[in-house]
């Protein structure tokens, strides 16, 4: 998977720093400690209540201590998508593949990703291997990237990428570690001439630091790339919300990717690339003033390197010219020459209000890389056998100061089941969203679109019925997910509206197709119809005019000719 440490970091956002000293402690001990602690505390409290001896502030202070991010997520694994063994398997593969794709794209390499699930001795355990041909990860970065939560390159920048937070892959490693006691294994090579490094890592969950178990150089007969192996408690399943579905949907939205998948049964599935064109490299942008909250503004004022308020506004935000910066200062009644770090809370508040009262241009949109109408169709065609494909890429738009762009695609007819509800494929920055469909803004838009206008059936408040797949992609520098497990897009009105506009446009294309097809069927039906009745005209004429059989046949031929010509 992604070797680009940067990328990984951002996505996964494992920002916690690992300390190598953590090595000695066993993760399991750590884990048990926090757990043990709580029960103790409870017992204590109950005991003290019974004795009517209340805890003093000192007593409490003794129990108050820092909670590591890793510990927090150990207890709240569902927030990261590890609720159950089935989902854990999917999430692990998803995090690995997302990282690989981000890294390859950032490195300008058409991604070849291989996912292998091997059964382990224990029935409920699997070993997951994710291997890519990306740029690899620098040796010194490997431990932090793969064994420290919230460490990465993607969180602090505004750039469109699959990963955002720097949690994913290390959380997967931690989940494996917690459920099987096995470390996460990383192999990485950054160029043909350099050796490959093999690491086995654990997370010191108390301190959120990596612990290196194995660190050696090995021979790895590839040019470059990264391989991640995690053993975890999991359940392999087919069908909906399965690994296979995730990979298939990934292949649709990422036609430039070649995926290979080896199932636990040893079956190999290939999702070949349909396009060699890599997505356009996106630019990183500065935050747009409309998307910044007061607290963030205060922090930025404090952290900036700019000397004056005017230059701070101009240089640390997008779309604020010196002139606009001056206007904002004037409106806030703060001198544009004051030092940003000296701005008081009240002044900051005025500044915040002034920003939102000033008309500021929308953020630049070269930070977005849509899939593109053509490639959406290519991706759909590659994986779905249908009669009709269409796609629409909307112009970029903005929610809360964040640029985003909506794309939609439809596949209709063919092998799709005609009597079922349409299937919705949701994507955020090219990553399929498989869970929490009903909580998602995309689903809301699909439901509130009037599909009956487009020659489809739709019951009130339901998805349309018919042989239809609806694909929606949201590209943004910051996708507003409803939770850290990134399963549903939040309901910003701007997003709901853009999705609906994209769907309506696709719907219009589809309606043209459906109506044309109905018309063709109708004309076919008419043809059959005239063939049914023409012979009777000939029979009647033969009877009345005492014609021969041959003359009767001639009439049929001539009449068929006349009527068929007239249909056009």
């Amino acid at each position: 998977m992604g070797k680009a440490g940067k990328k990984r970091v951002k996505k996964k956002t494992k920002t916690v720093k690992k300390k190598t000293t953590a090595k000695k402690k066993r993760p399991s001990t750590r884990k048990s400690k926090p757990e043990a602690k709580k029960p103790e505390k409870v017992v204590e409290e109950i005991a003290s209540r019974e004795l009517k001896i209340h805890a003093t502030a000192e007593d409490m202070a003794r129990r108050q201590r820092e909670i590591s991010v890793a510990e927090f997520f150990t207890k709240n694994r569902h927030l990261l998508g590890f609720d159950n063994p089935r989902k854990a398997l999917l999430t692990t593969i998803k995090e690995g593949v997302d990282n690989s794709l981000d890294a390859c794209e950032e490195g300008g390499i058409p991604p070849d990703v291989k996912v292998v699930i091997t059964p382990s001795e224990d029935e409920d355990r699997f070993r997951v291997t994710i291997e890519d041909n990306g740029p690899g990860v620098l040796k010194k970065q490997i431990p932090k990237i793969f064994a420290k939560l919230l460490y990465g390159s993607k969180f602090h920048r505004l750039k469109m990428s699959r990963g955002q937070q720097g949690i994913g892959i290390s959380a997967a490693g931690m989940y494996g570690q917690l459920t099987t006691g096995k470390p996460i294994a990383i192999t990485s090579k950054i160029s043909r001439n350099k050796p490959a490094h093999y690491y086995e890592l654990e997370i010191d969950t108390k301190r959120n630091e990596p612990r290196i178990i194995v660190d050696e150089q090995i021979d790895w007969p590839v040019r470059r790339g990264t391989k991640v192996e995690i053993e975890l408690e999991a359940r392999f399943q087919k069908g909906r919300q399965s690994v296979e579905e995730y990979l298939e949907q990934t292949a649709i939205a990422n036609p430039h990717v070649s995926l290979e998948f080896v199932t636990p049964d040893g079956e190999t599935k290939l999702y070949e690339r349909a396009s060699k064109e890599l997505p356009v490299e996106t630019k990183e942008i500065k935050p747009h003033p409309y998307g910044v909250e007061l607290g963030v503004l205060i922090k930025m004022l404090h952290d900036t390197k700019a000397r004056t308020l005017q230059s701070f506004l101009h240089s640390d935000f997008s779309r604020i010219s010196s002139r606009v910066a001056k206007m904002i200062c004037e409106q806030a009644k703060v001198s544009e020459r004051s030092r940003p770090s000296r701005i008081a809370r009240q002044e900051a508040n005025n500044l915040f209000k002034a920003i939102n009262n000033t008309k500021i241009m929308n953020p630049p949109t070269d930070c977005l890389s849509p899939i593109g109408e053509e490639l959406i169709r290519a991706g759909l065609k590659k994986q779905i056998e249908a009669d009709f494909y269409t796609s629409v890429t909307r112009p970029p738009s903005v929610y809360r100061g964040n640029p985003f762009q909506i794309e939609a695609g439809l596949a209709y007819g063919g092998s799709l089941p005609g009597d079922k509800l349409a299937r919705v494929l949701r994507y955020a920055n090219r990553v399929p969203l498989l869970y929490q469909q009903s909580a998602c803004a995309i689903t809301r838009s699909v439901l509130t679109t009037g599909w009956r206008n487009y020659a489809l059936q739709q019951s009130a408040g339901a998805l349309p019925t018919g042989p239809l797949i609806i694909m929606v992609h949201m590209a943004s520098v910051w996708v507003p997910f409803t939770s850290e497990s990134k399963e549903a897009v939040a309901h910003y009105p701007e997003i709901v509206k853009e999705v609906r506009l994209a769907l309506q446009e696709c719907g219009r294309h589809l309606a043209v197709f459906i109506r044309r097809r109905r018309k063709a069927a109708e004309s076919e039906r008419k043809k059959a119809y005239i063939h049914k009745y023409i012979p009777h005209i000939a029979i009647a004429l033969r009877e009345m005019l005492e014609l021969s059989d041959r003359q009767e046949k001639t009439i049929v031929t001539q009449l068929t000719d006349v009527l068929e010509r007239s249909r056009t």
Partner: protein, 360 residues
């Protein structure tokens, strides 16, 4: 070959030659509706104005077109063989036509009506006869029919049916008549007819009684027409005082209908006049009434607006306006309010005394 069979054959030939010239064959029919008739006061019936509908053979019409031609072929056979077939039988015969068969009898009836209009003849001439009863006769009339087997003349005395009556046959063209009656009274309801027969009204009034049973059938209209023409007898209609009795029953009896405009010349009784019940009778005889129904009002206003017959006669327009103003209707049985035989003893004699004043 009969003249009609020849005409059918001519039509078929024109269809065929049009096909041979790679054209779309057409059949054109006079439009059968009130909008395509005019009232001809001299001739006394509704006459076609000449609007035609042309049925061109297209994808949409191919089924009806095929059915029309097959039915024409059937008619030609009937005419040539001097055979008859009821409309119901025609419907069943079509069941041999595979896809071209009729699913319901009204479909085949329409096609028969179309062919009838196409050749401007009545369907009986084509050999198609209706199932419906033709109406009943009682009174001073001798009908001379033929015995079905031998063809020997058969004299039927309509005074000899006791409390029953003579049924008008479906085809009346071959009948001959003898009578000494003074007039013909056409009655709307079978109930009123029964009362008049039971009390021998035809004997006291010296007349022929006809029960129309609602809108008179073609056979009934033709029968009365022949009586009127050949015996030179006046015809008086005695129906309910409502728009249905006036226009659906009486108007059809006198001048024919829009639907049968192509044959009205034979199937109406231009000399008929309207004895009653008139709106004025309601007043004069203090008849119990019912309020006009919505459909009655619609019929009356439609008649004022669209019916060429009503438009021609001021007295009828006045009568309708009077009825609409009164807002009520009365049935011919309403005279029972005075006395069961009040109609025989008072109403009819009083009205007949002034037959010149009958509505036209």
């Amino acid at each position: 070959m009969s003249k009609l069979a020849t005409r059918i054959k001519e039509t078929a030939t024109s269809v065929r030659s049009r096909i041979q010239r790679k054209g779309k064959p057409t059949l054109s029919f006079p439009l059968r509706s009130l909008s395509n008739v005019k009232y001809h006061p001299k001739k006394g019936f509704f006459e076609l104005k000449g609007k035609k509908k042309t049925r061109t053979l297209t994808v949409a019409t191919v089924k009806t077109f095929a059915q029309t031609l097959r039915m024409m072929s059937q008619a030609k056979t009937l005419v040539e063989d001097d055979e008859i077939m009821t409309k119901r039988e025609a419907y069943y015969v079509s069941k041999n036509w595979d896809e071209a068969r009729f699913d319901e009898q009204p479909e085949s009836d329409t096609v028969i009506d179309d062919i009838e209009a196409l050749f401007q003849v009545n369907r009986e001439q084509l050999g198609f006869i209706p199932e419906e009863k033709g109406g009943e006769i009682a009174g001073k009339l001798i009908v001379i029919d033929r015995e079905p087997d031998s063809g020997k003349p058969l004299r039927i005395d309509c005074t000899k049916f006791g409390s029953g009556a003579y049924s008008i046959p479906i085809s009346v063209e071959h009948l001959k008549f003898e009578t000494k009656a003074k007039f013909i009274l056409a009655v709307e309801t079978a109930g009123m007819f029964q009362r008049l027969v039971k009390h021998g009204y035809w004997r006291t009034a010296n007349c022929i009684l006809v029960s129309m049973g609602g809108v008179p059938t073609r056979a009934c209209r033709r029968f009365i027409r022949r009586l009127a023409d050949e015996l030179k007898l006046p015809v008086y209609a005695f129906v309910d005082c409502d728009p249905y009795g006036m226009f659906n029953i009486y108007r059809t009896l006198k001048v024919g209908s829009g639907n049968a405009a192509h044959i009205n010349r034979y199937f109406c009784v231009p000399t008929a006049t309207f004895l009653g019940v008139t709106p004025q009778d309601i007043v004069d005889y203090k008849l119990p009434t019912h309020p006009l129904k919505e459909i009655d009002i619609k019929r009356a206003t439609d008649a004022l607006k669209n019916d060429p017959f009503v438009q021609h006669y001021q007295p009828w327009r006045d009568a309708i306006k009077q009825l609409l103003d009164m807002g009520v209707r009365a049935e011919q049985q309403a005279f029972a309010v005075h006395n069961l035989n009040y109609v025989i003893e008072h109403y009819l004699p009083e009205k007949l005394a002034a037959s010149k004043k009958f509505l036209p």
